[in-house]
């Protein structure tokens, strides 16, 4: 079990009544999908707000950054860098700059 840090966009932190930084427990390989699954399981109100509730695809204006790398277009089974798995760095879930 890995304790993974996730940084939420402000709007979702308010929605879920959470701090911006949360920790989720991930069983097995620390992939992008596993972290999001754990986050949504812990906080069901977030289901559908990051990934489409039916298709599971990333919402268009959401981005995933980890260790200065862009994982927005990575597959859900993509392994995240070791500093994410160890909890030294956070997976950043970012609301893309949009809307002027």
């Amino acid at each position: 079990m890995s304790d993974v840090r996730v940084e939420l966009p402000g709007g979702l932190a308010v929605l879920a009544r959470l701090p911006r930084d949360v920790v989720v427990a991930v069983a097995g390989p620390v992939t992008l999908g596993a972290v999001l699954d754990a986050l949504e399981a812990d906080h069901p109100v977030l289901r559908g707000t990051i990934r489409h509730g039916v298709t599971g695809k990333r919402r268009p204006f959401i981005r995933f950054f980890a260790c200065q790398r862009d994982f927005s277009h990575a597959a859900m089974n993509a392994a995240l860098p070791e500093p994410i798995a160890s909890g030294d760095e956070a997976l950043l879930i970012v609301g893309a700059i949009a809307g002027g």
């Binding site: 966009p9 402000g10 709007g11 979702l12 308010v14 929605l15 109100v45 559908g48 707000t49 990051i50 489409h52 509730g53 039916v54 919402r59 204006f61 959401i62 609301g95 893309a96 949009a98 809307g99």
Partner: protein, 371 residues
């Protein structure tokens, strides 16, 4: 002592405005859901403490919030709006088939009798119903799967189902309106539907009198005369006296018959209100002077009501769900603007004053009369 609670949805949050029956001194609560678009909030007629709110965001999608204490606290409820069966296609702006895609909830209409039952009008146009307080939603797909559904096209604001009217006498009768498909009626609780657009004329479609394709902006009915409907179409103010079977124009002497809102006095079913907007290109009042127009005879002849409203340099719009009336003995009329103003007339439209003037752009206004 009676009180009123005004529910205001804006581009960046919800606001709750409260006052006693005099409607002169107001308390403002909010923003609730700051930063999110609140297309609509509406209270249950059966339980005024129960309020439903549509919260959405281009980033994070759709949330439905529910309050059980009159808007003091909220809890997110169900947000899975899944089209029934194979969603199919409608027409896109260029005439090509386009898959039906859920974008947002435009309007929430709580049941007249049951606080746990609520209807949702969504974009792309469809009607959903919840019977468990918003926890789960089921599409009433007879509307979208009507034989004309594949020909519906979006208006400039998207293909939205924006109006839901529940008949207080014939409880199985529901009306909806869609931009830009038209108005529809169900006589069996929403399972099957008929287009009710005979008499509408729209110059911007190939057949001006087509069965569907009309850009209906809003419809309204009065509870004491539910077979009479009023409509603000893209252009033209219309009335039906036969539950939508036929329509006739009542624009009469309005200075312009373009607009978005239409509403009816709480105690005078012949008294109707609109806010004329200059044109479909210029979404603001004529000459920068904001005015409500009132007809006391069911349309045709209109009087200008501008006392207390900005009479110079006012270039705001009043969107389709942004007018409401209370049911106090002296009926109050309310509307909100894209300039963030919410105005009240405590005397049926004769005089107006601003409750607030600097909110985000107002998307919707509803009023609860509390005793």
């Amino acid at each position: 002592m009676s009180r009123v609670r005004v529910l205001v949805g804006t581009r960046k949050g919800a606001f709750v405005l409260t006052a006693d029956g005099a409607r002169r001194d107001w308390a403002v609560s909010g923003p609730h859901f700051a930063g999110w678009e609140i297309y609509h909030l509406k209270g249950s007629p059966a339980d005024p403490g129960r309020i439903y709110a549509s919260q959405s965001s281009g980033w994070f999608g759709q949330i439905i919030q529910r309050s059980d204490d009159g808007g003091t606290t909220w809890q997110p409820v169900g947000k899975d709006f899944v089209y029934d069966g194979i969603a199919g296609t409608h027409q896109w702006y260029d005439g090509t088939p386009h898959p039906w895609e859920f974008n947002r909830v435009w309007h929430l209409e709580p049941s007249l009798a049951d606080p746990d039952t609520v209807f949702a009008g969504v974009e792309d146009a469809a009607l959903f119903k919840s019977s468990d307080g918003g926890m789960t939603w089921r599409e009433l797909s007879g509307l979208r799967q009507h034989t004309t559904g594949s020909t519906w096209q979006p208006g400039a604001g998207g293909m939205c189902l924006h109006s839901i009217l529940l008949d207080p006498v014939d409880l199985a009768r529901i009306y909806t309106a869609i931009s830009a498909a038209g108005a529809f009626r169900s006589d069996d609780g929403g399972e099957s539907w008929l287009p009710i657009n005979r008499g509408l004329r729209s110059a911007h479609i190939p057949d001006p009198e087509a069965a569907v394709g009309h850009c209906v902006h809003h419809i309204a009915l009065h509870p004491s005369k539910p077979e009479r409907l009023f409509m603000q179409k893209h252009w033209d103010v219309m009335r039906s006296d036969d539950a939508g079977a036929t329509w006739h124009e009542i624009s009469g002497d309005l200075p312009t018959d373009f607009g978005f809102v239409v509403d009816i006095h709480a105690h005078e079913p012949e008294t109707v209100f609109v806010v004329p907007i200059k044109s479909d290109q210029e979404h603001f009042p004529l000459d920068g002077r904001l005015a409500v127009y009132r007809s006391r005879s069911g349309g045709g002849d209109w009087e200008r009501l501008g006392k207390g409203l900005p009479q110079q340099d006012c270039y705001v719009n009043v969107l389709r769900d942004a007018m409401a009336v209370d049911t106090l003995d002296q009926c109050g009329i309310y509307f909100g603007t894209t300039g963030g103003q919410v105005f009240v007339s405590p005397d049926g439209g004769n005089t107006w004053e601003a409750i607030v003037q600097n909110l985000p752009a107002v998307l919707s206004v509803e009023v609860q009369t509390l005793t």
